[in-house]
Every structure is written in C-alpha cells, then in structure tokens.
C-alpha cells in the first residue's frame, strides 16, 4: 500500500558481503547523516566540537551542514560523514519466528482438529504502561492492517485484561482461567524498564510452576524475537506484526508442544 513491493530484491553488483557499509550514491562511500543537540551555544568552538564528535563516532571527513542556536545554552547540528566501519553480513545469525504463514481458515482448522477445543489466550499491557494499542491490535475483533484480531478466530478464546496490569494480577488471571498462552505487551518505556518487567514476569511464571503449561509471548515496538528468547519467552513480536502472524505461531507451537 505504501511502497512498491514489486521492485526485485537481488544482490547489488560488486558488493562484498564480508564488508558492508552505508551507501549514499556510490558503493563503498559510507555516507551517513547524523543530527544531535549539544549543551553549548552555537559558535565556532561548538562547531568544531560537533565535528570532532562525528570523527569519534567513526565518520571520516565530517561536514557540518546545519547549525542552530536553540537558546539557553543549547545548539542543534546536522552533519554528514563517511563511515569508516563495515560489517561482515555473512556471519550474522538472527533468531526468527520459524512457523509457517497460515491463513485464517488454516489456523482455525489446525487448532480445532488437533486440540479439539479453543485455545485460551490471556493478553495484557503490563506494569505502568497504559498503551493498549499493540495488544488491542492483535487481540481485538477488528484487528490491524486489514486482518482480524484473535477474538475473531473460532480457534481462540481471548481474555484481554487491558492496560496497567501488574504481573501478580496477570498471574492470578492465568491460574484462574487455565490459559494456554499469555501475550504481554510493552509499548511505552523509559530507561529499559520494560526489560526488567518482562524478566520479572517470566521469573514469576517459573516460580509458580506454570512455565511448562504456557506459551509465553511478548510484543511491542522495542521487542524482537531475539530479545524475547533471551528473556525466557517463547516468542517476541515487534512493530508491524499482524494478528495472523501471532495466530499462526500460536497454533503451530501449541500443536508442536502437545504432539
């Protein structure tokens, strides 16, 4: 909808995957833009400070293209430079969600055939986070990006606890409902408090002896599958995740685990 997805994805000719760096208009030019504020007024010394910082960031030949004095001792800077670092892409391994993309009908058929019942899913936006936009997009009937939320699937029974749910409340609800899976959303976060909150949740589930009975998922704009696995979850879903991706994962993982 927003981009032309039909442009072919193929390797850029002449590229060395062992040494990949930023691209401006010529392979290997390393062009990077950076902008930042400094807690000093604009002026020649501040300009040199901005330039030197860019050098320390790994930029060769940094150019200050814009400076503005913001008043009260602050200034704003826009610089371009040539990044002297590169990365060996062939050595990168990123854990990914490995379940197959299934349709709405396939997901329902799989669960209802293999489980013979609906899976019970509890979702919550935990801690002090009041932003339910993520959990609602995945769970609510109307869904997100043109796809129905999990509530619409005959395969799932969804209990959405909403926002600002404490881990203790969530655990009590999981026990009470006999949930098969728990989705935890963390949207707004500061100073990485979402990570400690998520880690605490996994610890509580384990301490309570429920871990092996539950699929644990987390999601949010700062969540990746890799981070989720590190924290002890079974899966993590980042920004742009559609309800069907979560549903397909849930259906297949539950079947894998039970059979």
């Amino acid at each position: 909808m927003t981009t032309r997805d039909d442009a072919p994805a193929r390797a850029v000719s002449g590229l060395d995957l062992h040494a990949v760096g930023p691209y401006g208009d010529t392979l290997g030019d390393g062009i990077v833009q950076v902008s930042f504020s400094l807690p000093v007024p604009a002026g020649p010394e501040a300009r040199e400070a901005a330039r030197r910082l860019a050098v320390q960031m790994g930029l060769n030949e940094p150019q200050v293209y814009h400076e503005a004095d913001l008043g009260y001792g602050f200034s704003f800077w826009v610089l371009y430079g040539k990044c002297r670092h590169h990365v060996d892409v062939t050595r990168i391994v990123v854990p990914k969600i490995d379940t197959a993309p299934l349709s709405f009908e396939e997901i329902n058929a799989l669960v209802l055939e293999k489980a013979g019942r609906r899976l019970r899913i509890v979702g919550a936006c935990t801690g002090t986070d009041a932003h339910t936009v993520g959990i609602d997009a995945i769970l609510n009937m109307k869904g997100f990006a043109g796809e129905y939320g999990l509530e619409r699937y005959p395969a799932f029974e969804v209990i959405n606890l909403g926002s600002q749910v404490s881990n203790a409340t969530l655990l009590a609800k999981v026990r009470e409902t006999g949930a098969d899976a728990v989705l935890v959303s963390q949207v707004v976060t500061q100073k990485d408090v979402h990570l400690s909150n998520l880690a605490e949740w996994v610890d509580m589930v384990e301490a309570d002896g429920l871990r092996q009975d539950l699929l644990l998922l987390c999601g949010g704009p700062r969540i990746t599958h890799e981070v989720a696995l590190e924290l002890g979850f079974d899966a993590g879903f980042g920004a742009g995740t559609t309800p069907r991706q979560v549903a397909a994962w849930l259906a297949q993982k539950w079947v894998q685990r039970e059979h």
Binding site: T2, F36, L70, F76, A130, S163, V188, Q190, P221
Partner: protein, 525 residues
C-alpha cells in the same frame, strides 16, 4: 464566524438539545454525591499543604480520618474548621496534628457550630482571594506581554525530572511555544493522592505536584519575559485526583488543564460514578480560576477508525460543551478536542480532515478548540512523520484552530528530545506564517467533498447523541458507544471513594465557587 460548510443548523440544534439533556442527567447525578478527592480539594482550597513523614499528603490523612469517623457524607469542611477553630492552629498545622493523632476530627458541638462555620467560610474565602490574585496576575501578564498569534502552539515536556523540564520548556518558549504542558508520570492518574515535593524521577513523564507546578511556573514566567509573550502552563485535571489537580491549577496559576468527562472512564478504567462526580466540581474550579480546559475526545480516534468514528468525537464535544457551560465555564475556556488521525494514504484524506476541522470550528465558534496531531499512523520514519505533521499544521491554520498541539516526528518512538520540539515549532511557524490568511480566502465548493463530509459527520452525531440521551450516558458507555470501549457503572477504579451526600452536607468552597462564578459571569468574556 463565516459559514463555509452549509451545515444544517437544525442538526446542530438537535445535537445541543440532546447533549444538554445528557449533561443534566450527569450533573444531577453528581450533585447528590461527593468524593474523597473533592473533599481533599476543599481542604487544599482552605489552605492545607504538605505531607506527613511518609510523604502522604495531609489532605489524604484528614479525609481518611473523616471517613473513618463517619463524617464524610456531610463534608469534611465543618469538622476540619472546628479543629482549626478549637486549636487556633493554621490549616496545615491542624491537618498535621490530625494526621499524627494529636487532634480528633469531629462535628462541632451545637454551641460552637456557628463559630466553626464562620471559620470554614473564612478559610474558604482566603482560598478565593488567592485564586482572584492569581487570575489578576495572569491578566496583567497577558495585557503586558500578549499571548502571540493563534493558534497557540502547544508542546509537551516529559523528562521525568522537573529541573530538566524547565530547561526544555524555556528552549521551547524561545522557539515559539505558547503553551507548555508537563506530561505526568505514567499511571499518576491512577494514584488516589497527589505526590508531594519537587520530583526528579518519573516514568514517561514528570509527577504533577504542587512544588513542581511552582517550579515550572517560575521558569515559564522567566521565559515569558525573555521572549516577550506570556507562555501558558498546562497540566492534567484528570484521573482519580481530578478535583485536587484543578484546585492546585487554580492556586498555582496554571492556565490550561486537560479535563474530559469521559477520558478517564474509557482509557484509564476509572469508575464512571467517581469521575463524573469529580468532573462537575473540577469544572467549577476551572471556571472560577479562568483556566482553559482541554477535552480529550481526540483520543477516541486512537482506538476507533478516524474516518468511521468522526461523529463520536463531535458528539463528545457537544457533551463536554454542555456540561462545561452548566459548570460556569465560558466558551472561551473550552479547548474542545479533536484530531487528525486518518490514514495518510487514504485518498483525499486531507480534504476529509479539513472538513472535520472546519466543521468543529463553525459549530463551536467561540471555543478555542484543541487540535491534536497525527499519532496513530506515525511510524518511526521521522522524515515521513515530519511531512504528516506539516499536513496537520496546514489543516490547522486554514481552518482557524485555537490551540495547536505540535506533532513530533519522533511520535511513537520516545518522549520528545530537545530538537524534536524546536524542529516542529520551526516548521509549524513557517506554515502558519506562509498560510496566515488562507482561511479568509477560501470557500468550499457547494456540495463538494468537503461540505458533504462535514454534513454527514454532523448528521451521524445527531443520531448518536439522541441514542445516548435515550440510553442515558451510563448505559451508552456500557454499550461501547465511545471509542469502542465498554465500561460499567460499578466497574473500574475509585468507586469506593464516592459518597452519597446526607442531608446537612456542607461544602463552603462550592459556595465560594458559585460566588466567584457569578462575579465572572458579570465580566466580559
């Protein structure tokens, strides 16, 4: 107000009638009740400040003591005034003595009742004097420095540390901000007390405290002098402490406060009986203190589709307007909320948004209107986001909005950084300057996309408001008529803080508010 949209005035009148009936229902319900936060606001108005050794506010300790003694259903004012009268202490000292168990709270004996009432009246009048002085100070600032051109440019600071916030606020003022709001720490709305003291740690925002209000006020006054324009301070009269926040706003010269009839119910799961009762008192306070209230119906579009649910925003604006007018607020104090939240890739999205923004302008011609920027379709692509915000600014300027909350290119990423705001202010000022008189120059094609859209949204609002009137507001919320969220009258947080007034309930601050409002009503708008 020039009429460019050919709106059906019969439809507008039907909306106002239905919203008026809804407002009467709500205010009738509220009049029979008080809440712990209203009673605490009464104590704050009467001069109680500070906290106990555990930093629990003294007003909480006194109201808790009154509740424990079974005194709350007749109001905390009289027993508290009796404590002050009998001991000769200052209000704060008497409150501290009560908190420490050195002084009992009880109704005055018959022989002292008149004297206790006189004490209560005099303490309440002292609060009113302070609010009058505060209003005069604001008035003098505005007369001397002016407020700048409209729309008022409104930015948010939210570092968590009030001292960092003041630095950010001053930089914003220099870049052209005319309203600075300090976002509250996440979940403060769910605290049934207002924290005490200056705070340097918050989560997603900075705690609203009386001390923080004073610190920010001093910084903004300094910045106002520096830039030669009065910079307004904004915070939140919302959540479980809504009446107390409004009271602190009145005492500490805030200028704008977020205050919505339904927001807390829908988005914070605060009990509707609690928040609607709190609402009525808070609005009287805001009215008397000359505060502009900003309502929050723009938030509906974060959960509902902005195209399909546009009429729910309009319907809520009518309800907020009718409740506010009945609480003594003047139209010039009503920053009714709406927002640009449609999918930016929808064809003619800009036309629909202009239609709706202009529609609100023509229906509420004397209200400043608070126009909110895109958030729902902001992505983390800051370059695209800056363009979305530019579209928003153009729509705002060409439809004559009163209070313009600046969109941040880093929306959906983090609370704004210092240059996020200055870049937003610069681009918005550029657009406002470039299109300054565009509003006067345009007419809309009769029967075209814009006129048609506005008429359809208004027509849908008529249907919704008459349905809500027939179901009752409580029933309508239970049915999920707003923001697709359902809440029940017994559900949510804070119901235990609602008390039904007994015969003999007395609130001298409310009497003072009525007097202040009568005085204000006699003044020019």
């Amino acid at each position: 107000m020039e009429r460019k949209l050919d709106l059906d005035s019969g439809d507008i009148a039907r909306c106002r009638d239905a919203a008026g009936a809804i407002a009467d229902e709500v205010l009738g319900f509220a009049a029979a009740r008080s809440t712990v936060s209203i009673e605490r606001a009464v104590l704050r108005w009467m001069g109680v400040e500070g906290g106990d050794t555990d930093c629990i506010p003294l007003v909480n300790r006194v109201v808790d003591a009154a509740a424990a003694a079974g005194l709350l259903t007749r109001g905390v004012a009289l027993p508290f005034a009796e404590a002050v009268r009998a001991t000769g202490m200052t209000p704060s000292d008497a409150a501290r003595a009560i908190a420490e168990g050195r002084l009992d709270l009880r109704a005055p004996d018959a022989e002292f009742e008149d004297a206790a009432r006189a004490t209560a009246r005099s303490l309440s009048a002292a609060g009113s004097d302070r609010v009058r002085r505060t209003n005069r100070t604001r008035q003098r600032f505005l007369e001397r420095l002016g407020e700048g051109t409209r729309p008022l440019l409104y930015v948010i600071v939210a570092s968590g540390n009030i001292h960092e916030d003041t630095v950010q606020a001053k930089v914003c003022a220099r870049a052209g901000a005319q309203v600075v709001a300090v976002i509250r720490s996440t979940a403060q709305s769910l605290l049934d007390y207002i924290p005490e003291g200056a705070t340097t740690e918050g989560y997603g925002g900075t705690y609203a405290t009386q001390a923080n209000f004073r610190i920010m006020r001093a910084a903004l006054d300094e910045a106002s002098e520096d830039v030669g324009c009065y910079v307004r301070q904004c915070n939140y009269a919302s959540g479980l402490c809504m009446p107390e926040m409004a009271t602190l706003g009145a005492l500490e010269r805030l200028d704008v406060m977020l205050n919505d009839a339904l927001y807390g119910i829908l988005f914070r799961d605060i009990n509707m009986q609690r928040t609607l009762t709190d609402q009525a008192f808070s609005r009287k306070v805001s009215a008397a203190a000359g505060l502009i209230i900003n309502t929050g119906e723009d938030n509906y579009l974060t959960t509902s589709d902005a195209f399909d649910a546009a009429h729910t925003v309009l319907a809520s604006e009518f309800i907020n307007e009718q409740i506010a007018l009945r609480c003594g607020l003047k139209p010039s104090q009503l920053g009714l909320g709406h927002a640009m939240q449609m999918n930016p890739w929808r064809e003619d999205m800009f036309l629909y948004e202009v239609a709706q923004a202009r529609m609100a302008r023509e229906i509420f011609p004397d209200c400043p209107l608070k126009y909110m920027p895109p958030t729902k379709y902001m992505t983390g692509d800051i370059f695209r986001g800056h363009v979305q915000d530019a579209l928003f600014s153009l729509a705002s300027v060409m439809t004559g909005q009163g209070i313009h909350l600046l969109g941040m290119m880093t929306e959906a990423m983090h609370t704004p950084h210092i240059h996020d705001r200055t870049l937003a202010l610069e681009s918005t000022r550029m657009i406002a300057t470039a299109a300054r008189h565009l509003e006067d120059e345009i007419e809309f094609k009769p029967g075209g996309i814009i006129q048609t859209r506005a008429r359809v949204v208004l027509g849908n609002a008529v249907g919704l408001l008459e349905q809500v009137r027939d179901e009752g507001l409580f029933g309508a919320i239970a049915h999920g008529r707003f923001a697709d969220i359902r809440r029940t009258p017994e559900g949510g947080r804070g119901l235990e803080g609602v008390v039904v007034k007994e015969p003999g309930y007395w609130n001298p601050v409310e009497d003072e508010l009525d007097a202040l409002l009568a005085q204000r009503a006699a003044e020019v708008v």
